[in-house]
Symmetry: C2
């Protein structure tokens, strides 16, 4: 089978036959352009509601922005999907899927088939699910998802969605370098059948489509969808929503949708999708769920081992001190989930064993993507007995005067299962009680664990968890088997529809063979025999050593990259590193792009010589080294395609200087009311000089900042950034330098999205950018509400704070926001400014609290200095230090007295220093004068002043009656105190401090 080379159409028919044989309905592609088979009503509607549904169909899927004018070997605006929906989960969907690959000649043993976390969501469909990309030798060939929600509705049951990328599978199968060279069937090359239309569609999507006309049609179709819904028409409404989605995709590809406008479009599509979904659900209910009667789908059984297999040794019991093993087998856990689950188990297992009073000698917890293993050595066969004293009635009521037990005593004894003779009298707090000594026997380990293990597993929490079967239990990914043995005995329990047993499963490349484990002590050997490296650290070391050796052999090194190493370690059960190469010509691309592709997209280690990249990479296969050449070839093919993609964009971009991209920003909406990114660029052009002035930049720096502002957003219109958003700014800096801009301008552009800017020009640009976004979006009524922060304004505020603070820059946010606000195309006023300031203040409060400052200190400072984060942070530090000083109480008291007595006054009195006659008054006035003279608005100075003034103030209050009967005298004294109290103004509101 595997030596046969199927052409494209044979492969398709073979797959349809396969899924038909699995009981699937064979459906047809949809007659509306869709981005994916998911959008076909056979998926997006049928997954709703309780009915079973099993379907398979081809879907030519249109993604305009994937178009490469036919220049890319496997990326096109149209690709063919095979979409499979299994509802409910049949219990063995991955095995069925691997069987389908087998049916077309893809043998797990000869390739590297990997399940790499990929959590799918469609904002437009209000849908999401957890699952994986399936990689074939580094190439994504399938999207595999457990569908959790659609149209904003929770799915129950959950559907298994398997979406094959048929073109890429065929590419691998036929061993061609490009889809265009593949054999489609009937003697026709794929390219001859499809290339010309591909090029034309790209041309249309990227360069020809009439943006205004399509926007108008979008609006019309949306109205039509809503009219259909009003008339109760689900299918036509859905069709129109699909048409809207395609129109949106075209507009997006045409560069006519800005980041913020995009959110609005998604919201509109999602709203219609939700209405369609709820209408569909209602309709199915009215139709009384026709598919529920389907006998073929009703009789589906999961692929679990039979009960007999599981139970055949249930009469065996463990010896005391036998090892215990729990293996939680699942489909592939994401990297972070694996790490987190192991950490949680390391805390939870000892607690659990202690609670069961099961003693043990050694505990080891480790795992791979498919299994979490708890190994306990020397586990007691039974929990320790425990003795306890149970207090009964007071002794004087339990026994009568003759010392005979009263009914109170006999009743108490009976309730505990004791005779009265077993009771003792115990003294407690001077009182005497009848008490019973009770000894609770420990449970046999298997019984105890059978009760506790379900809770142990249920207690593991994941960042995102999912349901998959009728148990509706949540876990990171479907839990498929449970091995639980104490010595030779199965710890028998059910969890998530799975029954524990003594079987473990081997490596996927070997077909996940079942291994029966007779005794817990045999588990390690079984796992070793299966070729699985259970220990994370062992896998990590093997990968690191292998990778370094492979790099060395081409004279290269691999920089330390613990994050990537950790991730790769958690992607495999048996790592085999391999070295692949790519064409030297790709080294002409910016290294940041190459590295981003290798690390982020492919999880490859890049290989360096000095600070130069070498044309190699290290990948890590899951499995042994058999057929490693096939795997290497596959991976090299993938990276070639990826780099070709990047080269396509890069070559396109560098045809023009960066400046020429600026006008194209006019087509990129920032936000409907705030205009395009070109409008934003223009605003920055005016705002940056103002901000630069406020930041004290010299003329050269100011010119640099202004030039950088003019080019700052240009890279958003470059293909490279459209494709790899993470490179924004950095790519702009690169292109700026290529276009002949100064290194300083390039650096300012490159650094604009970083939290902390390096250099004054970069700072001015970054601050101005954040001010424009905050002022603008608040003015447009789009400030964050609740946890909803679609425009990431929290991050913008945080960047402002961190940047100014780290650069030790004073900056008056009020003036900055007003300057930004004046430039907006929407109304700006003080109320809005105060809203923004309060919002930034909220972030600043968090920052200062995180820095360890007491809440009251932060509150005191922010009451006066929210507008200047750097000053506020310095003030908070100074105040926090001051309140830890020994004299603080004295200082605060002195100051507080001034405040407290003057606070009720409605009037501010004028101080007449010459009228102060008493020496205490004069001393205080002198201290005030000194403090006022030195006052620079900083907390440090204020504290110093307080320290100097405190004795004088104390003396003043001790010696002088402030509230003199003579009004003139009284008011002059109050005026003195008002001036003293006012010293903190603009620095802090000390009245909120403790002890005030």
């Amino acid at each position: 089978m595997s030596s046969e080379k199927l052409n494209f159409q044979q492969m398709i028919l073979r797959l349809l036959d396969y899924w038909q044989a699995q009981g699937c309905l064979i459906w047809q592609p949809y007659n509306v352009q869709v981005g994916a088979g998911t959008m076909n009503p056979a998926t997006i509607l049928r997954v709703l509601g309780p009915e079973p549904w099993n379907v398979a169909y081809i879907e030519p899927s249109i993604r305009p922005d994937d178009g490469r004018f036919g220049d890319n070997p496997n990326r096109m605006q149209q690709h063919y999907q095979l979409q499979v929906i299994l509802k409910p989960d049949p219990g063995n969907p991955i095995e069925l899927y691997l069987g389908s690959l087998e049916a077309i000649g893809i043998n797990s043993r000869e390739h590297d088939i990997r399940f790499v976390e990929d959590n799918w969501q469609s904002p437009a469909l209000g849908a999401w699910g957890l699952g994986w990309e399936v990689w074939l030798d580094g190439q994504e060939i399938t999207q595999y998802t457990y569908f959790q929600q659609a149209g904003g509705v929770d799915l129950d049951p959950v559907s298994v969605e398997i979406t094959y990328g048929l073109d890429r599978i065929a590419l691998a199968l036929q061993g061609k370098n490009s889809v265009w060279e593949m054999d489609y069937g009937a003697g026709v090359a794929y390219g001859d059948a499809l290339l010309q239309a591909e090029i034309e569609h790209c041309q249309y999507y990227f360069n020809v489509a009439d943006v205004d006309a399509l926007k108008m049609i979008y609006d019309t179709y949306e109205r039509e969808a809503l009219r259909c819904l009003e008339a109760g028409l689900v299918a036509p409404a859905h069709d129109y929503n699909l048409k809207c989605s395609q129109l949106f995709n075209v507009l997006d590809t045409r560069g006519a949708v800005g980041v913020t406008e995009r959110a609005a479009y998604f919201g509109r599509m999602r709203r219609v999708a939700h209405k369609v979904s709820t209408a569909y659900i209602e309709q199915r209910q009215k139709l009384e769920y026709p598919f529920a009667e389907n006998k073929l789908w009703k009789t589906k059984k999961s692929d679990q081992l039979s009960e007999a297999d599981i139970r055949h040794s249930s009469l065996v019991t463990p010896e005391d001190g036998d090892p215990f093993v729990l293996e939680i087998g699942s489909e592939e856990l994401p990297h972070a989930d694996l790490t987190s689950a192991l950490a949680q188990l390391r805390a939870a297992v000892p607690a659990m064993l202690d609670a069961a009073r099961l003693s043990y000698t050694r505990l080891e917890i480790d795992g791979t993507p498919r299994r979490l293993t708890v190994l306990v050595d020397g586990l007691a066969a039974r929990g320790e007995d425990v003795a306890s004293v149970i207090k009964g009635p007071p002794a004087d009521r339990a026994f009568d005067k003759d010392g005979k037990p009263t009914p109170a005593a006999t009743g108490f004894a009976r309730s505990r299962g004791l005779s009265v003779d077993d009771l003792s009298v115990v003294e407690e707090g001077g009182k005497r009680y009848v008490s019973a000594f009770v000894r609770t026997a420990g449970q046999p380990s298997t019984d105890a664990l059978a009760g506790l293990l379900p809770d142990l597993i249920a207690g593991i929490k994941f960042e995102k968890s999912m349901r998959w079967n009728a148990s509706n239990v949540s876990y990171s990914r479907p839990l498929r088997w449970l091995l639980a043995l104490h010595g030779p005995a199965v710890v028998d329990f059910d969890y998530a529809g799975v029954r524990s047993g003594r079987v473990t499963y081997g490596l996927r490349p070997y077909g996940s063979p079942a291994y029966e484990v007779r005794h817990a002590a045999d588990y390690r050997a079984a796992i070793d025999n299966a070729g699985i490296v259970l220990h994370t650290e062992a896998r990590r070391k093997a990968i690191a050593a292998g990778a370094h050796a492979l790099a060395r052999s081409v004279g290269g090194v691999i920089p330390d990259d613990p994050a990537l190493l950790d991730e790769v370690t958690n992607l495999v059960e048996r790592p085999t590193p391999l070295r692949g190469s790519f064409e030297e010509r790709f080294l002409a691309l910016p290294p940041m792009a190459l590295v981003a592709v290798m690390r982020k997209h492919q999880r490859y280690f890049p290989v360096y010589k000095g600070d130069k990249l070498l044309p190699h990479f290290i990948a890590v296969r899951n499995g042994d080294d058999e057929h490693l050449d096939i795997v290497r070839d596959g991976n090299e093919h993938v990276i070639r395609a990826r780099f070709a993609d990047a080269a396509f964009f890069y070559d396109k971009d560098i045809k023009r200087p960066l400046e020429e991209f600026v006008p194209e920003l006019g087509k990129l909406t920032f936000q409907t009311e705030l205009g395009s990114f070109l409008d934003k660029t223009r605003r920055l052009g005016q705002l940056v000089p103002v901000v630069a002035g406020m930041l004290g930049l010299d003329p050269a720096e100011r010119a640099t900042a202004t030039r950088a502002a003019a080019l700052s957003k240009a890279d958003l219109a470059t293909s490279m950034v459209v494709e790899m958003t993470a490179l924004q700014g950095k790519m702009g800096g690169h292109y700026a330098l290529r276009s002949g801009e100064s290194p300083e301008v390039a650096a300012a552009i490159a650094g604009q999205y970083e939290a902390v800017s390096a250099g004054p020009a970069a700072l001015a640009l970054a601050v101005a950018d954040r001010l424009d976004s905050l002022a603008g979006l608040f003015a447009a009524g789009l400030g964050p509400k609740g946890s909803n922060d679609p425009f990431a304004l929290r991050r913008a505020a945080l960047h402002l704070i961190e940047n100014l603070t780290a650069n030790e820059q004073h900056f008056d946010l009020r003036a900055g926001l007003d300057a930004a606000g004046q430039l907006l195309p929407v109304a700006w006023n003080e109320m809005i400014r105060e809203d923004v300031l309060a919002f930034i203040g909220g972030r600043l409060e968090v920052v200062l609290r995180d820095a360890g400052h007491p809440a009251s200190v932060v509150k005191a400072v922010l009451a006066e200095q929210t507008h200047d984060p750097y000053a506020a942070s310095r003030a908070a530090a100074a105040l926090a230090a001051a309140i830890r000083a020994a004299d603080w109480e004295t200082l605060l008291n002195a100051y507080a007295r001034c405040v407290r007595i003057t606070r009720p006054l409605k009037e501010t009195y004028a101080l007449r220093v010459d009228d102060l006659r008493l020496p205490e008054e004069q001393a205080a006035a002198a201290a005030l004068a000194a403090a006022e003279a030195s006052n620079d608005g900083t907390m440090e100075t204020l504290i110093d002043s307080l320290r100097h003034m405190a004795p004088a103030i104390t003396r003043l209050f001790d010696a002088v009656l402030i509230m003199d009967d003579e009004p003139a005298v009284r008011e002059n004294r109050l005026a003195l105190l008002q001036r003293l109290a006012g010293l903190a103004r603009g620095v802090a509101d000390l009245s909120v401090l403790e002890g005030f």
Copy 2:
């Protein structure tokens, strides 16, 4: 195989596998809603240009106006097609097609599989082809077409297009009563998978779609298509044209497109289609025809017998008097083509044999849909010799004085292959010439016929003919074999890529077995043995007798229906009539609808008892009576579905009185500038009373006509008429009666489209309707141009003429047109009126000439009476009679003298009778006075007057010198003659007659 019941998806996969095995590319359904697989670019574009292309794919096809809200058993807005394109014709496409049916268990022997003429065209695609509907037991299951033109471009090579109606095939295969009950696959009923969406889409198309919005989108998409074409983008342009097509279909179903507006939409789509096609052709040329290299498609060979088979007896020669047979075997000829071809052969064969001087005793020419047969008894083995005399030089130049031959004589003799001794002298016209007697030997029959038969076949002309293979020869349908034998000898020739031989083929139901015919004398027996009834008359009689017997056995009769009988006779090679039945409930439908369905759609004979229909029909199977029950079941199923369809419409229509449909005419455009049919109805409401007055209707008749006018077009909005346009008017009459209108009103509505109206009210309505159309469309600049008459104005004019004439009604078209013109929403003037009148005059001329009147008579009458067709026709008849009378020359001469002498005069003189003194003058004046007194404008009276006046006029001219020297006398005489000449004014211009 045939006992297996495939579910729908198995059937589909089986068919795809079959066509894959035949070398077809397996394509996917299109992701734009299309009405048919033809519109998928894999057909409509790939059929263009010289490249081969073989493809098969499923196409869910959307035809909004076929929607029945799921109420119909096999008619839906969405049905599934399997589309197959074979380019070029492989030589045996029908056999391949029948093989595919076999692959899914449909055996020709068990069913009645028929090829019924159906010439496909798509005005929107600018495409057409000739072919058939394939009927399975009366049910259309496939559209089979030889594609001749697409996008307005001639196709070379021609493509075979096979379009399966998968739902209907599955219905037959699964033996279900309704598609909704079919097994789709995976345990799911077709209805459960599709019914709900079907109902919703119908609801949308018929009741919800926003007409104005969709029209606007149509315009936008059309613009986008044209913009794509400007940018050279074929595929996106085609997509937009498809989208336009779907929008048009929705608008049409919504009732928003009038008959005339439809033509405009078609024109727009066709224009884009043409541009797309030419752009595609150009593009393929530039790409250097990639598919031309396809090895799989290049090696295709036709399925003809080997040369050895054909020639193995070529050395045999006929005996003198052996019979001759020519059988032209083809795919199924249409009824009319068969009739016409036989008639042509009956004329051409004797001429051909005479030309070859081949004597014969008897000639018989007959045929079936698959064969035209020429049988000649007693054919000579060789053409008769012929003797001829060839004139040479004059005798006196051929021989010198000594009687010796000159070089002129020897040269002449040599040139004829004779010696001088063979020359004779022949006298001709008094001159003597040397002459040669030449005897031309007749050719052997086989040689002669081999030369003549290709021309014989080529000489057969068809109403519509087609090309199908590389020979590019045209014929009614592909010519597939030629049997040509004289005695035992093959008459060996090639035609249309086919080589003649001795093999004939049997009946399709028996698998078209090949029969070798050893001797022409064996042919009849071979055909009889094959079960074929070659003689048309024998088939006709068998059908008539069988049908009558079957009707009689249920107490019914079949009315004479020669047209239907002729057609059915020509649809079969071996007729077997069968009787089917339908549910009595359908008899509640109007009989006209039932009969239309039976006769027109199904070619069934309806069965009557008295004037009532019985719930039976007679169908005629092609084949014997084996498995006749299956065939009957199939046919009954079909008629049930058809009647259910009609009942659906009828029930919907009768829910409301006819009057309520009138407002809906507002959505039905008559013509853009002339408004809707509601506007037309309103105009008729005003015009009919005027016309009625002109026609002299009494008040009651006038009221009837006016009421009929108000309702006249209402039935255009009823479902029944939307569906079966041929019932327009008649259905309106039926509904009017049901709605409580008077029988007279109903009759006027029912008769409005007939050429000749019965009754005055009907006449008034019919005349007014034609006047409005003629005046309106001419005023809108849409009068017929050349042979292009999209609005059938020729027929409108003809109806006017025939109606007024048959009803013996004088009518002044000038006044009528002006009355109609004044009511139009567009400008009207005398010039337009004269254009219309001239156009009607043109028709009238044809009518009068067809009545046998001489051209000059018609011309004479029309010069004066075009505006009154009835008067004109009477006048023409009278004049034609008059010119045949003995005295005509005298009468005409007398009158002509009056005209000739006065014609040059510029002035009209006043006659002073009293100044006429001569008796001849006075006699002539008296005759004039009598003629003027009796003049009633008719030709009869004019002729009478001429007859009376002629002697007086003759005498006047004989006795009196008109041109007297005295001016007063001269002018008075000329005045007399002017008055005499003027008598014909308004009746005829006699000066155009011969002899004038």
